[in-house]
Symmetry: D3
Subunit: 239 residues, 6 copies
């Protein structure tokens, strides 16, 4: 039924490559099928002005797509002088989700910036960014602990994300671009390793969706998230 021939609850092949570039405190290439995103974590001392003196840290995210990561070239946002609405929405989601992974008090007065740059897009770039961004964040935080800048690892949850949807009436897991552009409903689910929801964003593209469809989507999402959490753990203990 699916264009890719996958089962309705089957993830695309997921590959996480740590230390992908050499300068960043955390640097991950995440590949979900043909979607490829470079996630880097930059760690600097200090916090933004609105947090000065509150004895806590901050985590923020930025997202971008290379102009030709997509089928037809998009304008370069730096040249247009402005990030578009979709970009802004996505980077706010990534930042919010990753802050749920960390006890900001324990992070101390440090700022982590997670940059997610899509070099090839085939659906699911925002959820790949969150999943890969968590690994980059974990690497950067580990260095902070190793350098004894903070006493205790401030990570309180492991965070992963996946897209699900209603495609030809059925709940399906991990939509690629051909599915995404034809799905009746599209939902991004971000969860932690205790099975709790961090964020749910579901949008009816054509017909509205009902309770049963929502339950169906959440069920395949939960299955997918569990597999992704396992792959993140393998990647992180693989050093």
């Amino acid at each position: 039924m699916r264009p890719s021939g996958r089962a309705t609850d089957q993830l695309r092949e997921l590959k996480i490559t740590r230390n992908f570039t050499k300068h960043a405190e955390g640097s991950v290439l995440i590949e979900c099928g043909d979607t490829k995103v470079i996630c880097t974590a930059t760690l600097v001392p200090g916090v933004p002005r609105f947090l000065k003196g509150k004895g806590q840290g901050w985590i923020t995210a930025e997202y971008g797509m290379l102009p030709r990561s997509t089928g037809s070239r998009m304008d370069r946002e730096a040249a247009r002088g402005k990030q578009n609405g979709r970009t802004v929405e996505i980077q706010r989601l990534i930042g919010r989700s990753l802050r749920a992974a960390v006890d900001l008090k324990k992070l101390g007065e440090h700022t982590l910036t997670i940059d997610c740059d899509v070099i090839q897009a085939d659906g699911g770039t925002r959820t790949a960014s969150i999943t890969g961004g968590f690994v980059a964040l974990a690497d950067a935080v580990r260095k902070l602990v190793e350098m004894k800048k903070i006493k205790e690892n401030p990570i309180v949850s492991q965070i992963a994300a996946i897209s699900v949807g209603i495609y030809k009436g059925e709940p399906v897991l991990d939509l690629d671009y051909p599915e995404d552009s034809n799905a009746e409903t599209d939902m991004n689910v971000i969860m932690n390793d205790k099975g709790g929801f961090i964020e749910i964003q579901g949008t009816a593209e054509g017909a509205a969706f009902d309770d049963e469809q929502m339950m169906g989507m959440l069920k395949v999402a939960r299955k997918g998230i569990n597999e992704i959490l396992e792959l993140q753990r393998k990647a992180l203990f693989d050093a």
Copy 2:
């Protein structure tokens, strides 16, 4: 338990004033407790470039807050030269939700712009904008039909929205600002008059939320939405 003394599934007083200003094709003042938003619908012939020649119409939304609609003054976005991320995210949500109300083919080559300007904020401005925006849209579309610019009313669903959340561990309906800033989870629910979901956006602010809490929130949301749909209908047949 609630700062306002309301029951957990009780809406704030909701008031919809049509024809609030005189120039727009649809003009609504919506008041949800102390939250007050002016929603106007502007109807012009023609469509944006990306829809030229496709024989369909378009609906878009813009959102703004008067600088002193809030407790402390925000920078005026026009003066800063840029809409902030939250604004962009909200106006995309409003536009997407209202497009679900209309058969764009039947709208013909017309563009509807829904402007939602918050003059006083006390939580729930985005859901109030959707609820009020639908009424402004319905008024504008009605004029289009009356002027015989289109043959058939293109509205296919009635759309309303409400915020719900987990406050002190309980699902509550229609959060005001004191609740919103202390809620553990915050969820915006947009539904149509057939009971279908148009959009769900739930965010854990502190702890993650579980299936049961989500079901609880959706239950109070559904109750609230039904009451709001009724109030919209009354307002619309009140001419």
Copy 3:
């Protein structure tokens, strides 16, 4: 002779509603016929950088129109990323005029920002903004005195404004939009309660105007200003 049937020296109905919104230190809805402007005054401690350490306060103004406050929708300035020339010119005029009301030394190191947002336009929005802005300013300053942040009320003059013009060869008072768009000359007059001029801006739209016409316009302006000053006083002592 006038489209509205008013006498040449007759004001439109003027209504001043104080405490219109709940958050601002001063909040006024001013209605001059169909022109409606929300004027809020925000008071914060401190002054802009260029006044640091000079032992005085500052007053500034910002002006905006809701996109559909006018007959056809204007672009939202926040979305275009830039205030247009007319907006900039008007907010500079409002700020300059209101600074003439106050002894900035006595204001101490406080900044007052007057936001004037037009929700419905029918001519005379800038003069309505000054007249309403003065009332909002007076309310905010009163609170400052009541909270004993300053010893003495720093208001030194009461300020009001009105537009006049030459319409069909005659000086007329308080132009509405149909007159304004056909007037030969358009003049904004800002005066204080001692009968002194704070600012005069007269522009020939078609033919140039002569001394006699100017005298005629100033005469009706003076009459109108006196009535407006009286209405401001009533509003302010009406608490």
Copy 4:
């Protein structure tokens, strides 16, 4: 009494140099004492979009100051990415004033852009720009007539401008910077060669001004304008 030793109704030396640069259709260096402005007129076929098909022309103006035309260096507006409020206000005034000189119908579908660039500032740059801009405009229009692009000279009035003010209680003509920064009132007067007013902008800087002071300022303005009109005529017939 005046810092410069001039009589209260005495202009600074005024010099108009035509054909100052070689590319523009009209190019004038105007020197009013130490204030020096290059005014060029550019003439192109066609009109802005909002005038398409109306069978008339358009005149617009732009104003700028070289960063070090003033005592301390101002930021370059091109580098800051934005014209400031004063610039915008001035260029709108110049454009409006010069449009009063021309019958736009007779100009045909041509656009004239008047660029006024201050290379040295010592007070009165906006009125110098109008006075010099008129000469550049006249030169450009003359070429249009000579090239037989239009049948008839569309200039209907000669336009000149001057600043006046109240300085130490007295009306004075043509304020230089030391006077301008200490004047109680500052007024810009734009008139035509029939003695009519095109625009008047008077601002009380300290105390308000009264009718008598206004009459005094207009009297010296009229005297100054007459002298300037004469110098413009000499410059224009001096080819």
Copy 5:
């Protein structure tokens, strides 16, 4: 003598990977030691407005660095709303250099956009972009010929680029970051396969350079360019 231990006229290892991403008409990963740049070529029908109807094509380039491609994180240009001076200078150089490779008349009315995005920087990113950009361009043009959109291959020269410099008094080839930041002179040389110069940009960073040093730099540049041209050819015939 060199930090890397290379001979003065020795290139870093150069790797060219074609078809690096799947959407673009040409997509190349170029690696010069630790410098890694993704170069994609996008081909669209039509030309920019200034070339409409001239019967020729156009080639332009854009350049960007991922925020954490460098040792410390740079601001994201899309977020700051503006490309910095260095970026603008580099993308103009890339575009100019690659236009020298192609007969724009033979390209017909097509536009090629070369995007060069640095994912890891270690000196020489602009010359790597030109060298890699040429390969991406060649791939895109080849497709145009294969699809019979144009009759003849419009490439007239093969273009390659390298940086050279004076380091500790000696001419050296292909500076990496530690050399680049300490070089006395830094020169970028762009040449074609006939041994002609397309562009030379030499800058004294500390002391000025003399004729002899320039000759020395050009000599090693020529040697390096010849090796790079050979590697480009291998990559291009390697399909």
Copy 6:
């Protein structure tokens, strides 16, 4: 052979007028034939943030063209809200070149801003800006020494610039606009008074250039630079 009838190694008439405007610490009008640029040097205490506490000064440059300095009017960059790529490239070149004239340590914590504003363009505006900018800089620095703000004159080299090119196959000196727009190669050469190169930027516009042509261009450049250095010296000792 040359449109102007000049010999291939002949400069245009070069005129340097010091103290051209009255406010700046250094103010020069440089005229190279019909190219006219106002160069001012502004000296302020303090340095940009990135140099704070390093005990050295800074020199930066900005460049602009009056909109009608050219044959057809260019958009005003301040109005467009953005400097174009060419402007940015030029002002970076001017700043870099002039920094080579000065020992920044000896300059102490002062910042020099060189503004180069083209009032009439006929080719060679960037090299004229450097040549004239050096004289303005020298004047400003001299005042600093005279006021005993620094002990020693920090100028270590005299800097001049000229454009050369290949025109009809021959190396020519100091291209005017008709040559510049038809030259096969265009090269800007910046040198000091010891005969050393500060910067070389050569671009093949049509055919590539070879070693011999480059030597030919450098030869005429050197001759031209020597004459310009002499004229700069005359101007500077001419007070």
